[in-house]
Structure formats: structure tokens, C-alpha cells
Symmetry: C2
Subunit: 213 residues, 2 copies
């Protein structure tokens, strides 16, 4: 199966489906139709069938999908059937909130290291994690076997910290800093940029008020 050829938006939707299925499973729902998953995820059911078809046959004719089975398959496809070890860089307000956010743990993501450059923060503890100095990052990241680096520094620090992560062997970066990071082709970056999302909202609200129709 040529995983690499699957459209990015399909992966995004698989992740949405998995989230919805996990909710259904928690509520003891055993079987669901593609129409019902579709409605809950805000897509159409033909789309779901098409997205799943990249990976095989999952539905049962006349029945629908077995919730737990499909969830298991989706988690396997997405690579979520394993623990992922995260390293946080930048323990400001946002970084600290991320460390405390229950949503990560619920999905198998564990912060195993946190770094900051502020001497007042270094050595202090959030949950089980003691904050390490950025200066020790390269070494510590390698030792801890971090899979994914989470950048929550200020913009000016983000590139430098990303470079260190990459030198330490990290190939995946979740970036919260409002800046475009430059990385080699083998490194995957996802940007969580809420000011861009806000700008998009403003554009839509403004465009409507200007539109002649």
C-alpha cells in the first residue's frame, strides 16, 4: 500500500472519523452507518466511503461499520496504535497549558521532556515534568527518544530550537509559533497557527459585509 500517496485532506478526515468513533465506542455504540458518521463529522457519506477505500474494505453490507473494529483499523492506519513521545520547547503560558491539557494523554501522546531558557522556570515542575534548560536540549532529546517536538516558544526562538530538535534526530514538529519554519525535506512540520485562523474569520466577516449580494 502506497501510504505516501494518500491526500493530506483524507488523513485529516480519517483523524476526524477516529475521534468520532472513539466517542461512539465510549458510549457503547456497536454499529454505525456511513451516513451517521458523515453527519457527525460534517462530511457526506460518499466521502467517507472514498476515504476508507484507500485502505481497504471496512463496512459490512446491510449493517454498516462495527465501531470498535473501524476505530482499531483507523488508529493503525494513522499510527496511533503506539505511544508517541513529545518534547515541549518553550514553557510560557501556552506551553504550560499544553503540558496540562488532557487531550494529549487521552490520545496516546505523552510529554516526556520540557525545555525553557528562562532560569526562573528551569528546574521547576509541571505535573511530573521538570523543566530542563534549552542548552541541554540536543542531548536530552536524543536520550529520551522523543518522536515529535512541540514548539511553543516566541517566534524569534522558534527556528533555532527547531534546528536543535532536528540535529537531535526529531523528524516531526508541531509548531505553535506564528512563523514559517525552514526545515530539511525529511522533517515533517504541522503549524497550529490560530492567528491565521482568526484572520480567515475576519476576512469572511468583512467580505460578507462588503458583498453586494
Amino acid at each position: 500500500m502506497k501510504y505516501a500517496k494518500i491526500p493530506e485532506i483524507t488523513i485529516h478526515r480519517l483523524s476526524l472519523y477516529a475521534r468520532q468513533l472513539a466517542l461512539l465506542d465510549m458510549n457503547n455504540v456497536k454499529v454505525i452507518s456511513s451516513v451517521d458518521i458523515a453527519e457527525a463529522c460534517g462530511v457526506n457519506s460518499a466521502q467517507i466511503r472514498k476515504d476508507l477505500a484507500y485502505f481497504g474494505e471496512f463496512g459490512v453490507r446491510g449493517i454498516g461499520y462495527y465501531v470498535r473494529d473501524l476505530l482499531f483499523e483507523l488508529r493503525k492506519i494513522l499510527g496511533l496504535n503506539q505511544e508517541w513521545r513529545l518534547g515541549l520547547v518553550g514553557v510560557g503560558n501556552l506551553g504550560a497549558a499544553l503540558l496540562r491539557h488532557a487531550v494529549f494523554l487521552k490520545r496516546g501522546y505523552t510529554f516526556v521532556k520540557a525545555f525553557d531558557q528562562d532560569p526562573k522556570k528551569i528546574g521547576s515542575q509541571i505535573g511530573n515534568l521538570v523543566i530542563d534548560p534549552v542548552g541541554k536540549m540536543e542531548n536530552e532529546i536524543e536520550k529520551a527518544g522523543i518522536d515529535i517536538g512541540v514548539i511553543a516558544t516566541q517566534s524569534q526562538m522558534a527556528q533555532e530550537c527547531t534546528d536543535i530538535l532536528i540535529r537531535a534526530g526529531v523528524n516531526g514538529v508541531l509548531n505553535f509559533a506564528p512563523i514559517q519554519l525552514k526545515t530539511p525535506p525529511h522533517v515533517h512540520i504541522e503549524n497550529v497557527d490560530f492567528t491565521l485562523k482568526l484572520d480567515a474569520l475576519c476576512y469572511k466577516l468583512t467580505a460578507e459585509s462588503k458583498a453586494p449580494f
Copy 2:
């Protein structure tokens, strides 16, 4: 100009360009070529010219773009040449971090109200804002002239709070809760869903390790 017909991804990039231009302007750069903006934003220069062409002629042949002029125009297009009033719903770790995040103010976004349902939080203060009870939300949102609601509640509360925002006349919602909100067609939603982004990273890292090439 039919604003409503512009592709979403173009708006996203305009916002990126504006961010880059603001940085250049801060560093006193007066003129820039499309090639240089392109490189900084990680797109190609033909793309920039195409994106801008939806809105008019901005470059000067043989010179490039005047940084401050183009920034002014982009901010006007995006609707960022005005103050936007935000109301936060849910002052947990993430919500509190958002209230304290400098990036909003820098871009003309002001939190003017914050709501929570926890009696221990109601009445307490973050920055200049006193946290109001969710029960008073509908009334307070209307009085305060909120343009955009920011949902940072737990998933279970997100839909209910969004419904209240909409009843109070809010047409734009920035949603941080990991759930698909259901809203009428006139309401614009942008989801900031970092677990979906993490899932996408995991998929890519997993797919690579499985790929036969």
C-alpha cells in the same frame, strides 16, 4: 469585487504574506521582491502574484512591492484594519493562556469578555478581564459588541456555548475544542485542532517507516 469567490487557501496565504510584511516593516525594509516574500513564506513567487491578482495590481515593475503599502492593502483586504472584539468561553489552562497571549493584541484582536462556569473562577481576574458566569453570556456578549467568540471549553460544553454565542448575534467562532460544531450557514467557524495536526504528523512518520521505497 466578488470577495466571496476567493479560494480559502488564498486567504490563508494573504495572511501569511501580511505577517511577513509586518516583520519586514518592523525591520525597516522598504521594498521587497515577490521572490523574497515567497521564500520567507515557503511558497513560490508565481503563487504570490496570482494570489494578489485577485485584488488588483500591487507591484511596481522593476522595483517589487513597497512593504508598507502592500501590508496596508493586505490588512484592508483581510479586514484587519479595524479592531476585532473577542469573547472567550472557557477559562481553563488553554483559555487562560490565550487571554495572556501577546499575539492577539499585536494583531488588533482584543479579548473584551471571558466566561466560565466554575464558581471558583467567576469574578477572578486575568489581566484587565474579570471572568463572568456562562449564565450571563448571552446578555453580556450582546452588550459588549463581541465580533468573534473563542471556544476553549471542554468538548461536552462546546456546542451549548456556541449556540449561546450565536443567539447573542456572534457570526464568527474560533473553536479550540476537539469537536465538530454544528452551526447555521451564516456562522463562520474555524477549528484550531492540534490533535488532528498531531495525528497527521504521526501518520506521516508512520507511513515513512512502512513505505517500501
